[in-house]
């Protein structure tokens, strides 16, 4: 990365940090207390964006893997690898925040509920992908194996989203999104804070993805240089 793009990255990170501070203000000061769940409901404002971006990561990983299989262009594999790593980060944090939130609301840390289990499976697919890329065959063969594994993740992603509709689950029903139950509308101020949080976390996600992609590209070039 050149000096110019490095400075742009810093400016972008600075703006994202300001957004994060505003987000914290909105979550803790501006947003109202939910009547049933109380203060612990505020975990919702980080839990949902983490879930959203964890699943977006998997879809991105799947799409870039398919493109790689079709074109054999290393650029798509580099994007796939970067997406997988950030996906693991977001999904790990999603599982952790979910575990923490379930204790005050359900009275237990974990249950083998369909939504939770399918999310854990997705986490294992991500970790499996990264393990395969790190310790499996290198080069184009490793990239192909990884791409095939990533396609499994694409199958799991809709299962997570529709789990509350297709199976009886302890997890709350969908409140937002195309498959949301119309009768389960949430308060407008809660929705506003959630949308702001989604935008902020997406901005952070984009920053991390750009940084990771630049590094992956550099790693690939360095490996090629060493091999030459």
């Amino acid at each position: 990365m050149g000096i110019k793009s490095n400075n742009l990255g810093k400016i972008y990170l600075f703006i994202t940090s300001i957004f994060m501070l505003i987000n914290l203000y909105l979550i803790f000061i501006w947003a109202p207390n939910e009547i049933n769940l109380g203060i612990s409901q505020r975990i919702f404002y980080i839990h949902i964006p983490l879930a959203w971006l964890g699943m977006i990561s998997m879809i991105l990983l799947g799409i870039t893997s398919i493109i790689y299989l079709l074109t054999n262009n290393i650029k798509w594999d580099n994007i796939a690898k970067s997406t997988a790593e950030i996906g693991v980060l977001f999904l790990s944090l999603l599982l952790l925040t979910g575990i923490i939130w379930s204790k005050p609301t359900w009275g237990i840390w974990w249950t083998w509920d369909s939504k939770l289990t399918t999310t854990l499976i997705l986490w294992f697919i991500y970790v499996g992908y990264l393990t395969l890329r790190a310790y499996g065959p290198q080069g184009s063969q490793g990239a192909r194996y990884g791409a095939i594994l990533a396609l499994l993740g694409i199958i799991d992603t809709p299962l997570i989203y529709f789990a509350t509709i297709w199976w009886r689950t302890q997890h709350p029903e969908l409140n937002i999104g195309p498959a949301a139950n119309v009768s389960n509308t949430i308060d407008i101020s809660i929705l506003q804070v959630l949308l702001f949080s989604l935008i902020t976390f997406t901005a952070l996600y984009i920053f991390l993805l750009i940084e990771r992609y630049a590094l992956t590209k550099l790693e690939t070039t360095t490996k090629e240089m060493i091999n030459v």
Binding site: S40, L89, I100, W101, K103, P104, L208
Partner: protein
């Protein structure tokens, strides 16, 4: 340094969960009945417990992001030094030739 910081934060968090910390009570309402106070007390305990979970969830999320950023910066440094050593080897080879 980072490991020490992380471990101490983790230990504090575990301690907070294991010992049901109750935050300072509000003593301004001295004229309210005993029943109301006990109701408020139990409500406060519930809210404060919830607050601990919120605190831990946010803390873990932010530690996760900071650690990942730190990991990326370390990786960038490693790569930069590796590229430098490759460059040095290449220049020394070209001088020999």
């Amino acid at each position: 340094m980072f490991k020490f910081l992380f471990l101490s934060i983790l230990l504090i968090s575990v301690h907070l969960i294991s010992t049901d910390i109750i935050f300072a009570e509000d003593h301004s309402q001295t004229h309210t009945s005993i029943e109301t106070i006990s109701e408020e007390k139990s409500a406060n305990i519930q809210t404060d417990n919830g607050l601990i979970y919120v605190f831990i969830a946010f803390l873990i999320t932010w530690i996760g992001f900071f650690f990942y950023l730190y990991y990326l910066s370390q990786k960038r440094k490693e790569l930069a030094s590796e590229i430098d050593s490759i460059k040095q080897r290449l220049t020394s080879k070209s001088i020999q030739l």
